[in-house]
């Protein structure tokens, strides 16, 4: 079966060669071709190497989007969004509302973590979600990425695709785990889902009936009935994310779910409010399965 990287690469290739699409990025044709997600094509085929100018590059891509080229914009580390977000949020996301002119850019923003420093660590999807006008997805499987891409082709919004390097080798799909009368409900986001799967196994192994829901669409956030029912039945709900927790999507979802379910035991559990460094001692990682497990046990004691 194809991995996420294979899926991205093949869809991109088709887009460039058959649909007059474009792919923009910095150093995309360098060693590794962004984890094997970029097809080994040339500028003539539609791969545009951009200069090292994180403030002008996204605007250049917006110009291509206005001209109907449906560009893919690759941002190799989500921390680069600190510069790149400006035009994407202030132009691409607002263009349709302000001027009735769509500016559809598919933003591939790639997260990683683990001794990789203050910029390249973590997901930064929450800062995008805060602003109006741009749907946000965080796919981790081949089908999820494909569904996000198909949504992009069917609509004219710019889309923020919050990818995680750890997804690139994944070649399987992930199903929700649903029991009747659960004690714990876990909602996993991005890389938080990988850790949440293991934590769910451990909790169920301890006879703490735990449900797991994979949240791919972060904005708009539309919880399923199964999820709402699960939360209402559970003693606690935990939202695990690979982005910062403070004012982040995990806290935002928790807030929404508290009002939707009248449950007051919904917790965000995501990345700590601190800067990551380049060593294991200074890492700031997605909560591990053990941390999620312990977090659940502690909350159940209350």
């Amino acid at each position: 079966m194809e991995t996420v990287a294979d899926t991205i690469r093949e869809i991109t290739k088709k887009h460039l060669l058959e649909s007059n699409g474009l792919l923009y990025g910095q150093c995309v044709t360098a060693v590794g071709w962004i984890g094997g997600t970029v097809p080994e094509l040339t500028e003539k085929d539609g791969i545009v190497e951009l200069p090292t100018s994180d403030s002008s590059n996204p605007a250049i891509v917006c110009g291509a989007a206005l001209m109907g080229r449906r560009p893919i914009y690759v941002i190799r580390y989500q921390g680069f969004m600190c510069y790149n977000a400006v035009t994407l949020l202030n132009y691409a996301a607002k263009s349709k509302t302000l001027w009735n002119e769509p500016c559809p850019v598919f933003i591939r923003s790639i997260a990683m973590e683990g001794s990789i420093g203050p910029v390249a660590s973590n997901s930064n999807h929450s800062m995008i979600i805060h602003h109006p006008g741009m749907p946000v997805i965080a796919p981790m499987t081949p089908l999820e990425w494909t569904n996000g891409w198909n949504y992009f082709l069917r609509h004219d919004d710019p889309i923020y695709c919050s990818e995680h390097r750890k997804s690139f080798t994944i070649d399987y799909e992930m199903s929700n785990i649903i029991h009747e009368n659960p004690v714990v409900t876990i909602i996993g986001i991005s890389n938080g889902r990988i850790e949440a799967i293991e934590a769910t196994k451990q909790l169920n192994h301890k006879n703490i009936k735990t449900n797991l829901f994979h949240q791919v669409w972060l904005k708009p956030f539309k919880p399923s009935n199964d999820l709402l029912l699960s939360i209402k039945s559970s003693r606690i709900t935990i939202i695990v994310d690979s982005g910062f927790q403070t004012c982040g999507i995990s806290e935002s979802i928790a807030y929404n779910l508290i009002h939707m379910t009248n449950s007051n035991s919904i917790y965000a559990f995501a990345i700590a409010d601190k800067t990551a460094g380049f060593s294991t001692e200074t890492d700031n990682l997605t909560p591990s399965s053990l941390q999620i497990f312990n977090f659940a046990i502690e909350r159940l004691k209350k």
Binding site: T87, T97, L98, W99
Partner: protein
């Protein structure tokens, strides 16, 4: 010396008077609150867009995109065909060219024609990289109009570099009034933008704002895009609002009027009446 056909100069003058009279009435109605703040009037630069338009017509360039920023009323009036929609927009009406979202600063002309004016987000100068991206991705000529402060934005500088690297078909017009709000250029920077663009390899010139000069330089350089033209011009009114800071050092519209002779008085009176009627009818339509 470049000799401009008198008929062309008269066309430029006619549109310029229309633009200026439109702005004078916008200022009047801004004083009374009918036209909302903030408002960025283009008095002093109203002849630049008509000059570009007529020159492109002469060059038989019929399909192109325009990216501009605030102080763009004259650009809209020159290239779009419904001044009423600008009035509605300035009054905050949903009937406006951008449904009230654009205001004075963020205008676009969305009618599907060969000449299309795209909206501006409000981030000064971000139209420069967007315009460059549009030119490169479409290969359709682009006119990118900006000011002397906008070119200082870091994303503008990156975009100039990209434009020459990719040989994007884009004409940059910098309306250089020497002011950012009221801060003079010499206070803000020690360098000239045309030196910077020139050093990147972009054909660049620094010229006065007479229509003959602008037309002549466009014609001379249009086959070697990207091309950067810095035009020294005057902002007659406040950065934002209907007031006046200082008398302008020169008045190009008056200079053109002298060049075309007595007919200028007739044209001016005609255009005044036309503009007045358009405002009157538009405000009546809005119940104001």
């Amino acid at each position: 010396m470049y000799i401009m056909d008198k008929d062309v100069l008269i066309k430029i003058f006619t549109q310029s008077v229309f633009n200026r009279e439109f702005e004078f009435l916008a200022a009047e109605y801004n004083k009374t609150g009918v036209v909302r703040n903030p408002i960025y009037l283009s008095v002093g630069t109203e002849h630049i867009s008509p000059t570009i338009k007529e020159t492109f017509k002469e060059l038989n360039i019929i399909k192109y995109n325009i990216f501009a920023q605030h102080r763009c009323h004259s650009i809209y009036l020159t290239f779009a065909d419904k001044p009423e929609k600008l009035i509605y927009e300035l009054c905050g009406s949903s009937l406006g060219c951008n449904g009230g979202y654009g205001g004075s600063a963020s205008l676009s002309h969305t009618k599907n024609t060969n000449i299309k004016m795209w909206g501006h987000s409000g981030l000064l100068g971000d139209q420069i990289p967007i315009a460059v991206g549009a030119a490169h991705a479409s290969n359709i000529p682009v006119i990118c109009i900006c000011g002397d402060a906008a070119v200082e934005e870091d994303y503008a500088l990156g975009a100039f570099g990209y434009a020459i690297t990719k040989k994007a078909p884009i004409l940059f017009i910098c309306e250089d009034n020497g002011l950012s709000v009221l801060t003079e250029t010499k206070t803000r920077r020690s360098w000239n933008i045309f030196d910077v663009t020139q050093s990147m390899g972009i054909q660049s010139v620094d010229i006065d704002d007479k229509p003959q000069t602008i037309a002549s330089y466009i014609k001379n350089g249009i086959n070697n895009l990207p091309y950067f033209i810095n035009i020294r011009c005057q902002r007659h009114m406040w950065h934002a609002g209907h007031g006046v800071d200082n008398p302008p050092k020169w008045n190009t519209l008056s200079i053109i009027a002298q060049e075309i002779g007595d007919i200028s008085k007739i044209i001016t009176q005609e255009q005044k009446n036309i503009v007045k009627n358009i405002w009157k009818q538009s405000l009546t339509q809005l119940g104001k």
